[in-house]
Symmetry: C2
Subunit: 244 residues, 2 copies
């Protein structure tokens, strides 16, 4: 595989390590020099030889360079799905995508069960994302019972809890409707780590997924998110593809 | 899409309905005439025009026709993953697959969270599949507390609880190791429907997925399994692919 990474930080490094034996050549575009064994591009330019572009930078990077990637016709893997919460950008991106030879992949990221949601999307009534954190994460102390700090749809949640953006937007894209995803943030004195809980209500079944992710070397990112991105890339070359 | 269905029953019917607008031509091979709007083949013969083969019949059908499909070079979607619990068949199948132009897809099926398992497979210590059923499903009455009826690995579970075969084999294929998947069957007086619970223990996080599937028109099959197969097929033509 010949990969251009947009962003050369912690996530790119984990993805590189997972894919190392399959990488023939790689580049990364980043404003700073990073500890990634790929050639650094100091300005954004798509190497003609690259066969896939992997964004592991930020929502802003998807907005800034996403359309250029699509116009190149190369396949594009996106971890910062939060860029698609902007309906105007999303519509423009989809028009370009439908006129290009690219395929865009948004892996499950920091949560799972997207396989269920995507399969039953036409039968879903509601999806809940409940994020529980210890009270001190919200500056609260001696909380006797859990307390809901926020409740709203995915779009409303983004401005107030930007660290949940990619998860709630990926859920909404899988359902195909931002209004069917409810986000609730809870200060819970009974937990000592962040816990994502997803509840899926549908006419074909009810599902609950509870995630206790461990952080990666960058504590803002779980290990699951970069591993999910690496797994999606590995599927390109696998003859037997499980799940999805 | 031009599809050959192996098996023309309930599952094929749901998949057909989900994909209808994308199907240009279709065939089905089945020992009996079925209510499926595709051309019936009375003996197994791969139509040259078909671009994809979809098995929705049985473990036996995969064993009987799977290698022929691989040799044709066409992509192959399999719901009866249980066929791969036979190590000799699996090895033979993989040798053929690695020499062919086919790609084989085993969708998540009647459970979800395969996206998590596949992403973190190298970090998994253990996966548990706990299937809870009302006591009367095991001929038990007046059970005051839950009772474990069976515990063992996926291979051991198959001979005793064949109705769980595809789920436990798909989990094992995603992990990449049959010995890391434990199956437990529980008679539980507190449930009134079948519940699949998956617990994933790994060095990057812990995950729990609880499924309360509703049955499809054939009560032996959940809706989730055929919808998961249909979703995997739809991804062939989608420009924006979410999850996995």
């Amino acid at each position: 595989m010949k990969i251009l990474f947009i962003g050369g930080g912690n996530i790119a490094k984990i993805v590189y390590k997972e894919l190392e034996e399959h990488i023939e050549e790689c580049w990364y575009y980043d404003i700073a020099e990073k500890d990634l064994p790929c050639k650094r591009l100091e300005s954004f330019k798509l190497p003609q030889k690259a066969d896939v572009v992997v964004e592991c930078a930020s929502v802003e990077a998807v907005r800034e360079y996403g359309i250029d990637v699509i116009r190149s016709g190369k396949d594009f893997y996106i971890i910062s799905s939060g860029a698609f919460s902007d309906a105007e950008f999303f519509n423009k991106f989809m028009v370009e995508l439908n006129n290009s030879t690219s395929t865009v992949y948004v892996p499950s990221g920091a949560v799972g069960g997207i396989d269920i949601i995507y399969a039953i999307k036409n039968f879903i009534e509601k999806v809940e994302l409940i994020t529980r954190k210890p009270p001190k994460a919200f500056g609260l102390e001696h909380l006797p019972l859990e307390q809901t700090i926020f409740t709203g749809n995915a779009i409303e949640a983004i401005s107030k809890f930007p660290q949940n953006t990619n998860v709630s937007v990926t859920l909404s894209l899988a359902v195909g409707d931002f209004n069917k995803v409810n986000v609730r943030i809870v200060a819970d004195p009974n937990v000592d780590q962040n816990i994502h809980e997803i509840n899926i209500y549908s006419s074909v079944g009810e599902y609950k997924i509870i995630h206790k992710n461990k952080p990666s070397p960058n504590p803002k990112t779980s290990y699951l998110a970069p591993l999910s991105l690496a797994a999606a890339l590995k599927k390109r070359i696998e003859k037997l593809r499980i799940g999805g």
